[in-house]
Subunit: 93 residues, 2 copies
């Protein structure tokens, strides 16, 4: 089962970019050596912004270790299948 | 000098996703063993869609070899500097 609140994972959605930046920075400051930033669909651009802002402004010893993309099939509210691109950015420090 | 029409590069912007898919597929069918899909800002999500659609629907032996993200500084129309996230997806077949 996928738990979007699992440790070391920040799931980027429709909130402001800085909310997610703060979430990643907090996890790193609490000792996480790696944090996964995940997003789907239009939020993918925001996930890339989050990784870049964390690295350039807040945790300057953090790096983007690996970036994966894939296609996920989710169900719409009407129960129809919908294919969405997804990204997973692994940041390490 | 950066030439957005250079060979093996598809620069994803505001057109429909399928225009860029077609551009990548055409390059691969003309013998390119690698194609770079590049995008900035909000077009990043579309670039990921392009890579996934090429791989899943059109060139099934194509793979995502490497994905890089970075921050680029561009000038606005008023001449002010603006920082934008950018992505580069290297596809190989």
């Amino acid at each position: 089962m996928v738990n979007e609140k699992e440790e070391n994972v920040v799931f980027v959605g429709k909130k402001g970019t800085m909310s997610y930046v703060l979430a990643v920075v907090t996890q790193m400051n609490q000792g996480s050596k790696e944090v996964f930033i995940k997003a789907r669909g239009k939020a993918i651009s925001r996930a890339v912004d989050v990784a870049e802002i964390v690295k350039n402004k807040f945790v300057t010893d953090a790096k983007t270790a690996e970036i994966k993309i894939k296609t996920e099939e989710i169900a719409t509210e009407e129960g129809n299948p919908l294919k969405l691109s997804a990204i997973e950015i692994k940041m390490i420090k």
